[in-house]
Amino acid sequence: MRPERGSGPSAASTGTRERALRARGGRPPWILVLPALVGVAFLVLPMVGLLVRAPWSTLGGRLLQPQVLSALWLSLSTATVATGLCLLLGVPLAWSLARTDFPGRRLVRALVTVPLVMPPVVGGVALLLALGRNGLLGRYLDAWFGITLPFTPAAVVLAQVFVAMPFLVISVEGALRGADRRYEEAAATLGASRTAVFTRVTLPMVLPGIGAGAVLCWARALGEFGATITFAGNFPGTTQTMPLAVYVAMQRDPEAAIVLSLVLLLVCLAVLATLRERWTNV
């Protein structure tokens, strides 16, 4: 959302213009509609496949198994904590990339995207080599504080932060670059400190971007599989998130795997739909 939309007269004029455009444009052009329909069908079709194959008669019994509930709870809680951590670290990082000029900034920006292109399993191995019991940093955590990360829920969160943070950083950086800097400059000329400019002007301006980034980040964390199973292992109740439970179930009982996938999908959709609703109403 651009800031000028918030001010009274321009918001009204935007509304009229949109209405005029809609009336004059008539039907949307097929050259856009057709690919869009194909796109939706391609995204929805696999989900329909899941729904068709789902064992509806035994669904209730399978859902209420304690293992399913604990995996679901673990997934939701770790993904949420991971998103929080990503916000805490990612927003300042995105701000540094968009608003400051420091040597090696381009390199840092490229490095931020590394987890995006790295296969998650490789990411998991990399995390083990860095934070594992014998890892670069991990061995000192173990020797000095007695902290070992692998096979704990904390490792699940770290794996998720590793793979999901780039989504947040890229979204927020894009929002910051798109935001009008004149508002920040105006605030600065009126005597606001840099911190005040950030919290009172920049942050509210890019809030929708941060929200979108956080949603992407949360969704990515929720679906995280490769890095989690490699770095955090797989133990029911401790590190077995939904995607891991789905994978393990797939080995012997594909129907159970389908049920678990459906649960994860429905919960995701419900959460995202609720959030979306709230944003558009704001």
């Binding site: 191995v125 083990l128 080599l129 594992g132 019991r133 014998n134 070992t148 692998p150 096979f151 199973i229 490699t230 955090a232 292992g233 797989n234 133990f235 029911p236 590190t239 077995q240 994978y247 393990v248 179930a249 080995q251 012997r252 009982d253």
Partner: protein, 318 residues
């Protein structure tokens, strides 16, 4: 449609997939190398030259997920049937964990039978069984467990003459028992299976849904031990990786895995391992295009020479 001269020489057998395949897939791949029946297998086999289990998992996952892929595999396998003037082409379908052993034995077999080409097809056992039961012209089938062999014996069936001599369900030629794998120098001082039950030690086991996990559960139950691991890994390779990196103090893996990771992990044999093991059966498939060569292959595998290769790889020969 162009006449295919070799078709009349092929064994009569239902080939349901064949008719649906594009011509490019139906044509026999020219210039094939011995251990790589077609390019699709070459790709699968190259995923990780050092680890048979990763290959098996990749191969099975791919085959399950990509229907078209498995059609292509079947097509490639079908094109490896006998052709005139080639001196015979023996097609062996074997579990991925046999890759090293059978590749070695294939060289010996070709040396003993000049003009014969051995085509090896390695994949997950159940995928291979599915292919054979769908009409893929395998001469020999060697899966990693007896249950999979039973599926082929009940489906496509084993060669009647061969079975009359050796049994309707194939013969077990090797077993793979479990070992405790520990990082080099064994930092946690693990010496026996009961040490795994110690809560202070970090332990990795395979998930009970995968074969190595099932065997581990059986062994631990037989020993009366209750081991709560820190992680149930998705396959035996993942357990091995955790041990190699020193993230766990011990894990249960197959003896062949310890051999393949020699130097990076230490293996500890334990008496309870005899309680459960993976049996590797072998058999000549019914309607095998080269049933005589197939029988000779089984003989080689069970010969002292074959036994030596198997034991070097970590298998136990019954």
């Amino acid at each position: 449609m162009r006449e295919r001269p070799s078709r009349s020489q092929r064994p009569r057998r239902s080939r349901p997939f064949r008719t649906y395949l594009p011509r490019a897939l139906r044509r026999a791949a020219p210039g094939r190398s011995r251990a790589r029946p077609c390019r699709a297998f070459g790709v699968l086999r190259m995923t990780d030259p050092g680890s048979s289990h990763v290959r098996r998992v990749r191969a099975s996952r791919l085959a399950v997920l990509l229907v078209s892929g498995s059609l292509a595999l079947t097509a490639c396998a079908q094109d490896t049937g006998s052709e005139e003037g080639s001196g015979g082409r023996l097609t062996v379908f074997a579990a991925a964990s046999l890759t090293d052993v059978f590749t070695d034995l294939a060289e010996r077999f070709e040396a003993e039978h000049p003009g014969v080409e051995v085509v090896l097809n390695f994949a997950g056992s159940s995928d291979l069984a599915l292919q054979i039961n769908s009409g893929a012209p395998a001469d020999v089938f060697a899966p990693a467990d007896t249950a999979t062999m039973d599926r082929v014996a009940e489906g496509e069936g084993l060669d009647a003459d061969w079975a009359a001599e050796h049994g309707d369900w194939g013969v077990v030629f090797a077993t793979n028992t479990l070992r405790i794998a520990v990082p080099p120098d064994n930092p946690a001082g693990v010496g026996a299976l009961s040490d795994l039950a110690d809560e202070d030690r970090t332990v990795a086991l395979c998930a009970q849904q995968v074969p190595c996990g099932a065997v581990a559960t059986e062994v631990l139950d037989a020993a009366g031990l209750e081991v709560v691991p820190d992680t149930y890994e998705e396959d035996v390779r993942a357990v091995l990786t955790k041990v190699e990196l020193g993230e766990v103090d011990a894990g249960l893996v197959y003896a062949t895995d310890v051999m393949s990771a020699e130097g990076r992990v230490e293996g500890i044999a334990f008496p309870e391992a005899a309680e459960a093991a993976n049996d590797y059966p072998i058999g000549v498939v019914s309607g095998a295009p080269e049933s005589d060569l197939a029988a000779a292959w089984v003989e080689l595998v069970r010969s002292p020479e074959g036994t030596e290769v198997l034991t070097d790889a970590g298998f136990t020969v019954p």
